[in-house]
């Protein structure tokens, strides 16, 4: 067996830095995906036909094509079409954020529709305007129901973030490859970042469980 972890020791700080680099764009992408996904979900359940159509087409496109393709189109098309030299960071946020929004919008739509219709009626009967009803009454209840599905989406996004290495964004995955190339040994750095990804997901899962517990106080 030819395993030698001592060789990667000098590169450990370099790889650990990748955690923050990955987290940076993952966090922003999750926020972008969540906000845009919520808006799309509201379009889907709303009464304005054209907005419903837009949201459906959006979802169909972003769910119907590979994420890596979307990412590359954003990264390479922006300079070519708009003459704008897009940074890998911005391309990554856009690619993941826009993609995640499609999935999140479906999760939230289902969550809103699962809230008892009586809640809407009670809010209407009290004279609560639609916007406030959605923000304060319906969405909080919907979020509680869909939290597990939403956490699942965030976990997927965090892991899939590794494909930004293809647009030369120096994330965790890319750093493992760089170290591998320097050492002519790939297995150790890959195993090391695998452990880092796993730790990140564990922390994310724990946060999810914690939020779930907090939301359940009303039961």
């Amino acid at each position: 067996m030819n395993l030698d972890f001592s060789q990667i020791v000098p590169y450990i700080p370099f790889m650990l830095e990748g955690i923050w680099v990955t987290l940076q764009f993952v966090i922003v992408a999750i926020i972008v995906g969540f906000v845009l996904g919520t808006v799309l979900a509201l379009f889907k359940i709303g009464s304005i036909k054209i907005l419903r159509r837009i949201a459906d087409v959006y979802t169909s496109i972003f769910r119907g094509t590979p994420l890596i393709l979307q990412l590359m189109i954003i990264y390479y098309a922006a300079p070519q079409l708009l003459d704008y030299d897009i940074s890998p960071f911005l391309a990554a946020i856009l690619g993941f954020g826009l993609n995640s929004a499609a999935y999140v919008s479906e999760i939230i739509r289902a969550g809103i529709q699962a809230v008892d219709r009586g809640q809407t009626e009670a809010a209407k009967a009290l004279g609560i305007p639609y916007r406030q009803m959605m923000i304060d009454i319906i969405l909080p209840q919907a979020l509680k129901n869909i939290l597990p599905a939403l956490m699942n989406e965030f976990i997927t996004l965090t892991k899939e973030s590794a494909i930004v290495s293809t647009i030369s964004y120096l994330d965790l995955m890319r750093r493992a490859q760089v170290v591998g190339a320097n050492l002519y040994r790939n297995f150790e750095p890959l195993l090391f970042v695998g452990l880092l990804y796993w730790s990140m997901i564990m922390v994310l899962s724990l946060i999810g469980k914690w939020i779930e517990r907090r939301l359940n106080v009303s039961d």
């Binding site: 009586g118 009626e121 009670a122 209407k124 009290l126 305007p129 909080p140 509680k144 939301l215 039961d219």
Partner: protein, 240 residues
């Protein structure tokens, strides 16, 4: 207070309300009775436009709610509603259920709304439950909170849609007692109910609906002792 003119409502091909006209005076307590499927609840839900009437006009305090430029959301502030299945907001505490609409819609200050909320909770006998969540309450308690929640908006008119139908028998009385108390306070009330005792003793007027038609109206005493229509006689014979 309320004037309904030629109200009709259809769901697809199903005509559930047929040309109903009625006037209800301020302070009146009106019981709406009839067999199930007669359109009682739909009629009630048309009054605050939870159901959009297919035809006809509905005036509440002189305002035509069916007029397209009427701000329905605004008009509903004056019309409280109590549902069969309570529909309390489960993620808010009892007191928050009472203060949410007054603070957000009527722009009452928090202190003011909480004080009012506490007064109302005391009135329905649930002062000690203000920090509880709805899911920890019994059905009767939930319904009393729901009544207090509607009252917190200081409505001129209260609609009750079978308020005791989902309750265990031993909890019906506590809710009816609150409603009786309310009836004596002078607020206008429309109550869809199967509680004939309530309709007879507390109501000022009875509306009897059958198959979407307003078959008979009258004072409770006259209606229960000497119903005029065959359909009402038949109905009363079956349930009394």
């Amino acid at each position: 207070m309320i004037k309904v003119e030629h109200l009709s409502k259809t769901f697809g091909n199903n005509e559930v309300l047929k040309d109903i006209s009625i006037e209800i005076n301020k302070g009146e307590v009106v019981s709406i009775i009839g067999p199930s499927g007669s359109g009682k609840s739909t009629f009630l839900r048309c009054i605050n436009l939870l159901e959009q009437p297919s035809k006809g006009k509905i005036f509440v305090s002189g305002q035509d709610l069916t007029e397209s430029k009427t701000n329905v959301t605004k008009a509903r502030e004056k019309i409280g509603m109590v549902f069969q299945h309570f529909h309390l907001f489960p993620h808010l505490t009892v007191l928050e259920n009472l203060t949410y609409a007054p603070t957000k819609v009527k722009k009452m200050t928090r202190e003011e709304a909480e004080e009012k909320g506490r007064t109302l909770l005391a009135r329905v006998g649930l002062a000690e439950k203000e920090t509880a969540y709805p899911n920890s309450l019994s059905g009767g308690q939930k319904q009393r909170v729901a009544i207090a929640r509607a009252l917190a908006m200081e409505p001129e008119l209260m609609l009750f849609d079978e308020p005791t139908s989902a309750l265990d028998p031993e909890m019906v009385k506590e809710v009816l007692d609150v409603m009786k108390d309310l009836a004596h306070s002078g607020i206008t009330m429309l109550v869809v109910t199967h509680e004939m005792g309530f309709a007879r003793e507390v109501g000022d007027q009875v509306l009897f609906l059958d198959e979407g038609r307003l078959v008979e109206t009258g004072e409770p005493k006259a209606f229960f002792e000497n119903p005029q229509s065959e359909r009402a006689k038949d109905f009363l014979a079956k349930i009394l």
